[in-house]
């Protein structure tokens, strides 16, 4: 079967505007990726990892420096017109559209860029507005919408043209729980409703990726570090256990990383509460005693202790070497 997205050795280097103004930045470094038709695929990575750059190349907004990218079997560089007929894109925090138009008018305007017949477009817009709970806002000017309502409108804009492949760049960024849930539920239903619909989703939110995605690629510094189902990714840290400790402010944490049985160690200071949060990925339970001893040796007091099973976040920390700051 035809892959929805296929990327081979994709590299993108951004050169500074003027040579003396800085160094070039390699946003994507020989990325290989294949997303099958019908998949809900997640791209997980910290800020600046290269997620948006990859999406821009796939959506024909940016040319690669090297390598190839195909969407629905079409080369994004050469066959961009064919690619565009089959895609759409939604970004988190988007403020697209015109403030003086109503919600329905804005959505209608964007359907016209896809050659949709007005009557068909209007009917589909009405259906989607109802589905997203925005029917009562359809005649309101866009500038009167709340952040959540606006993003729901953006999501409708992306889906109303019924693309084969949709690129969602952090679509729930900054939204409250309810708005996020409505959007997530819609994405899952949409991809399952018809065969060969594909979603490529970038996100910051581990839980979102874990819940929604059939497969996830972890990307950092322009490279794909791992790519598998969430379950298989978690198996990568299967043998490990996670220990979380909240302790009174700890000045010196240099020893923790070298304790036997500690594979990864991260910490965070909360100066306001005068506390330090320690997080360990352990290969052996025996490390727990040594960690507690070290905490006491440093004169700190344990406020709480929690041992957890591996999560996607742990996988991420293992792969990337740091959490999301």
């Amino acid at each position: 079967m035809q892959s929805a997205v296929e990327v081979k050795g994709l590299t993108r280097v951004f050169e500074p505007k003027k040579k003396k103004e800085g160094k070039s930045v390699t946003a994507l470094n020989k990325v290989d990726l294949r997303i099958e038709s019908g998949e809900l695929f997640g791209l997980l990575g910290p800020n600046g990892a290269g997620k948006t750059t990859l999406l821009k190349i796939l959506s024909t907004l940016l040319l690669p420096t090297a390598g190839k990218a195909f969407v629905a079997g079409f080369d994004v560089e050469k066959d961009f017109t064919e690619v565009r007929k089959r895609i759409n894109m939604v970004s988190g925090g988007e403020i697209s559209g015109y403030g003086l138009l109503t919600v329905k008018e804005n959505l209608w305007m964007f359907t016209q860029f896809y050659g949709m017949k007005s009557s068909v477009a209007k009917q589909r817009i009405d259906e989607l507005l109802t589905q997203f709970g925005l029917a009562d806002k359809k005649d309101e000017k866009v500038r009167t919408l709340s952040t959540g309502q606006r993003q729901k409108m953006n999501v409708i804009r992306g889906f109303v043209t019924d693309p084969e492949i949709i690129f969602l760049d952090e679509p729930t960024l900054g939204l409250d729980v309810n708005a996020s849930r409505v959007i997530r539920d819609f994405i899952v239903d949409w991809v399952q409703a018809k065969e060969n619909r594909t979603v490529l989703l970038t996100t910051h939110y581990m839980m979102e990726a874990d819940q929604l995605c059939d497969r996830i690629a972890i990307i950092d510094d322009g490279r794909i570090l791992a790519c598998d189902t969430p379950e298989n990714l978690k198996k990568l840290v299967k043998m490990n256990r996670t220990l979380k400790l909240d302790v009174t402010s700890l000045k010196d944490t240099s020893k923790f990383g070298s304790i036997a049985g500690v594979e990864q160690f991260t910490f965070q200071d909360d100066a306001e509460k005068n506390q330090t949060y320690l997080k360990f990925i352990l290969t052996h339970d025996s490390a727990v005693t040594d960690i507690i001893s070290e905490v006491q040796r440093k004169g700190a007091r344990i406020l709480s202790l929690q041992k957890t099973e591996p999560t996607l976040e742990d996988v991420f920390i293992k792969m990337v070497g740091k959490g999301f700051e």
Binding site: T60, L63, R84, E105, M109, F110, Y114, G115
Partner: protein, 274 residues
Amino acid sequence: MSDTWLITNLRAIRGRAYPRVIGSKREPSWLFFDITLPLLTVSAYAYIYKYMDAPPEFVGFVILGGAMTAFWLNILWAMASQLYWEKEIGNLQLYLIAPISRMSILAGMAVGGLFMTAIRAAATMIIGILLFGIALSFAQPGMIILVFMVTMVSLYGMGMMFASLYLLLGREAYHLSNLLTEPVYLASGLYFPVRALGFWAAAGASIIPMTLGLDALRQLFYPSSGSEYGFLPVNTELAILAVLCVVFLWLSKYSLAYMEKLGKTTGRLTLRWQ
């Protein structure tokens, strides 16, 4: 080129023109400023001609020029700089991923802008005519309409070219449009017959379509003034404007394709900065 392609692009033009057309209806308060502000300048220049005991047609020249400023300002701020603002609010990338010719977006902007501005310009002209009690000749209505249409197509063709040339600009877009205001008013002879600049300067300024368009309209509205104040015969001006139509539309298509490719290569196409 299939029917579907044509219909898709016609729909795109309609879609992009819509916000501009509906904007006039929805925000009528803009009309007040768009009509009043040019009238103030027109009044000042009309009074200076009156003070100098200029022939009466000069007040008419100024009013026609004042109406034409509306189109030029629309070209600068709602065509040339528009893609920069579209980039800022995130619309540009959505236009660029759509399966349509980029020219349809520009054409939609132009059609909507032309419609909106024509209303303002007509209002400025009518109020100016009533205020200063000037009499225009309508002896050749067909020619007046033809010259106006050809001027507008070439002018908005130039606007479409500007829009693509501005595509990769950031804050410079604002300053460039600002810079192209008074110097173009001067070069195009918006407030005096362009012939006063001398033949070669006026010929050079004729690259801006409103130079010849305005000169031709002045000659048509004041048939007796042509020999003394007209730059070239009306038919010659019309022919040159027709050539400019083709040249600017072709250049806008070429420059847009070039700038888009350049933007996609350098990564500056969707980059926002202040």
